[in-house]
Symmetry: D2
Subunit: 291 residues, 4 copies
């Protein structure tokens, strides 16, 4: 397919590369051009504006937050201006439910298609094309995007036809991960103060009831207290938890475990660990236990 | 081996049966005799007292709480009185760290061996001999017990040589499960109020980052709101969380996620759901969200 | 003084009336004109726009939320357009710290003065001219406003020269009240389930360590479960707690008690009690205890 | 009256002295005799055992915890053994509801009277005879004790005829104080990080809605961060919160604010501040905010 890709951070670069490898024609745009040039060497075309990357059948946005997506879509020379009728904007960033609803309305008004397709997975998972894609939007549009999802991920979950529902599920998943970090942090603090080797406890956890990727990825980080360098920074993770809490507020859903996670992340940032991995929640819990 | 088995509840009955199947000579004792008679039909001998079940090389206790274990061990005609020198008391119940330490000291004083070996798994897992055994105690004693653990479980994790450390790990694991239930409950409440089918969200959760037995067992219960009949009653689960919090208090470890779970369980009991499955924590969370 | 008053809700009407009584010339503006007419009968002039109410030495805004203040100040025919150089905008609404900072900058750019002066007190307190005024801004400007504050309140606390600091203190005070409601709710639930008459417990609380207006106002509401009609609606109170949490987020201050209050207010709204008094937090706590 | 007084800690010594000053004949007993001798110089008789201090019309116990009260009452040469029929045991310690119920039953079985009369107030308040007494028990017995209460306190609240209800109210009051400390801690952390002088915020709080002894006592301690020396140690305060949570557990009352306070106290103890004043909760909150 002839597509555009906007946003070449840790995740985006790996995803765009996998699209190139799968044989798609990819026009990339990034705010700072040097990242785009790296991919140009691997076959990508470079656009000078988001609109310039939106002339194909589809354009993917993979950006850090709501503000970045708003700028790229609604700005001058933005996606909305560049995308032709019936072409698809595939929004893969982790953004708010509210912004996703706004994008949906704006693209519909312009006769364009909009699919929300946030992903689960860290940069190394993106590099291995093993992401999980959470897709929502019109069935036909998702169908057309499937070949792209397959190039970037191991599995696509279709959430439904209302795009922002995929964003809501993504936020719910990030919340589940964050609260898992909190719980692991508390459990490790307890057993460590009880004189048990963290590695031994880790074996029990990941070798019995919790033998899942989430626990196998984060358990060792916590057992070995290896919070730097960050795979996913606490400041960015806090952004996601804020979005989850905002979505919960809009639906009148109390989420005390999310509140707890948020408070610990704020503590981490206040104590100078905003650039550490979000698994550092466990370090905060440990510190509060005097460890 | 020639062993005794005390406590034939849902878990104990299944475990004793697997020991019989594996060819061990098992003398059983239960406070209400009818449960013992059922196993007698399958080859077990019946004892009239805990001491009567403690004459072999080892005796296993699998009881509901600290009080029951104390009565059976320290009472007249109890395990302590019946067990011969060098024979092993294998305590598989979920009990407090403090009681485990007391049992350790009492058996040592009597020249007996003591191994703590609590298990992870629900009754159907016990029936399938697929329990996870968390064992701690003198290495030689654990070695002698291994053949018994193999008859009841799929894997034994050796925690160390201080018996009560296995109890601490067990409590930490039950806390991890309980806090998972809380988190799942919040996530499901959020997506349900957002109009997403629970089953679809479940597929994402168990099909991606959380493809572990714990999530595969409890996720469907929550998605289908199937809290009765209970596999593990909320009142009993609250007992375990109380023990975890008591252990954490003794070690000066704040565990706010455990406090949260405790408060929701108390709400469940106050609102008449103490006999429901502990996964009913998710129902309380949903109710608090107006569902 | 020759002043304007914008926003004639429960609070604003009472405050404007007291300014009239004190002999000031008051030009009022309200989105729905009928409320303005009521005060016209008592001597007020009526303006057709916020700008029209801003031609005097000072204009007071007393509105429900950030959005209303933004509309009235920045909108066409707004305060910013109507206020002359050196005249003062006295912002008495409970608004966000961020908006207060924006107002400060906008008025400075226009050569106007800006004082933030949110108040503590319910409508009946406003009617009795017994409000507490929290004022911040340039010393000279506050000095000119003092005669107005004296007409509406019993005491003015000068917080400093940066206006938004008064808003921060106001949010901190509302948080203290909300968390007091939570704590009272929990204490009353405990003693009620313990068979103690609420009235008797109330006497202890307000007759000993907690003999303060906050407890004497809200204690009886909780003891008598008198949550309707609302003096201050839960939906509005939640707005304030959101603002407090946003301010805390901006400063990286974890406020778990504020998170707790927020979660209980969301529960109240989810369970249909958004229009009840915010003291209804205690009813939610009681319900969670099975009362 | 001819009475005994057992337990001469910071509180007990001051209370016994006030009884002497009021003209009562007081026989004192303390585990370490030197404290008793100090009062002997002021007119007290010294007993060699709790029983020896229990020969009069009434005996007061004022001890640190359940264990101390149990030892003194049920031990050899204890209160139960020494008290004559119809004489009154006035239990003024902060003890568990469960122990108070046991004492009630034991004294009834012995034909003795039992009144629970825990107090509100710190040592300096006790010294000034300004305590608040929370009394429960048979009306006649309370009537006989009133003259004693008047010598020690400024006011007696009669809770009812079941003694342990006074203990429950006392625990509820201590919870209210602890959660006030938590809330003040959060509010002060917010305004301090916002650049507001603590003293200025304190004036607002205690000068407006919260002009009560509790806020006037603890507000300045927090504003000035004056947590040593302790008026009431955090380790002792945690004991009381544990008792409140145990009572709440027994009644199935979720108390999340109490859980929060408990977790922060555990953090304080884990971080080496168990001997600081319990107002140090605010220091923990501040530290978690990076202050």
């Amino acid at each position: 397919m002839d597509i555009g890709f906007i946003g070449l951070g840790h995740m985006g670069e790996a995803m765009a590369r996998n699209l190139l490898k799968a044989g798609h024609r990819v026009t990339v745009y990034n705010r700072t051009r040097d990242k785009a040039e790296k991919l140009a060497a691997e076959g990508a075309a470079i656009a000078d504006s988001p609109a310039g990357a939106s002339h194909g059948e589809a354009v993917i946005t993979m950006l850090a937050n709501d503000e970045a997506v708003e700028a790229v879509v609604f700005g001058e020379e933005g996606v909305l201006a560049g995308l032709r009728r019936d072409a698809v904007h595939i929004s893969m960033s982790t953004i708010s439910v509210a912004l996703s609803d706004r994008l949906d309305a704006a693209h519909a008004a312009a006769g364009q298609r909009y699919v929300a397709a946030p992903v689960l997975g860290r940069p190394e998972v993106a590099a291995a094309a093993k992401l999980f894609v959470l897709a929502a939007g019109p069935e036909a549009a998702i169908g057309r995007c499937q070949v792209l999802f397959d190039a970037m991920g191991q599995k696509t979950f279709v959430i439904g036809d209302k795009p922002s529902r995929a964003n809501l599920v993504k936020l719910a998943c990030n919340f589940l991960l964050a609260s898992m970090l909190e719980s692991l942090g508390e459990a490790f603090a307890l057993v460590r103060k009880g004189g048990i080797e963290p590695q031994r406890f880790l074996e029990v956890v990941t070798g019995s009831m919790f033998s899942a990727p989430a626990y196998k990825t984060y358990g060792p980080i916590i057992a070995e207290e290896r919070y730097e360098p960050a795979g996913f920074k606490m400041t960015l993770a806090l952004k996601d938890i804020r979005l989850a809490l905002a979505a919960a507020d809009a639906e009148a859903v109390p989420m005390p475990a999310a509140s707890l996670v948020r408070d610990h992340m704020l503590q981490g940032i206040a104590q100078g660990e905003g650039n550490s991995d979000w698994a550092g929640i466990a370090r905060i819990v440990a510190r509060n236990a005097g460890l």
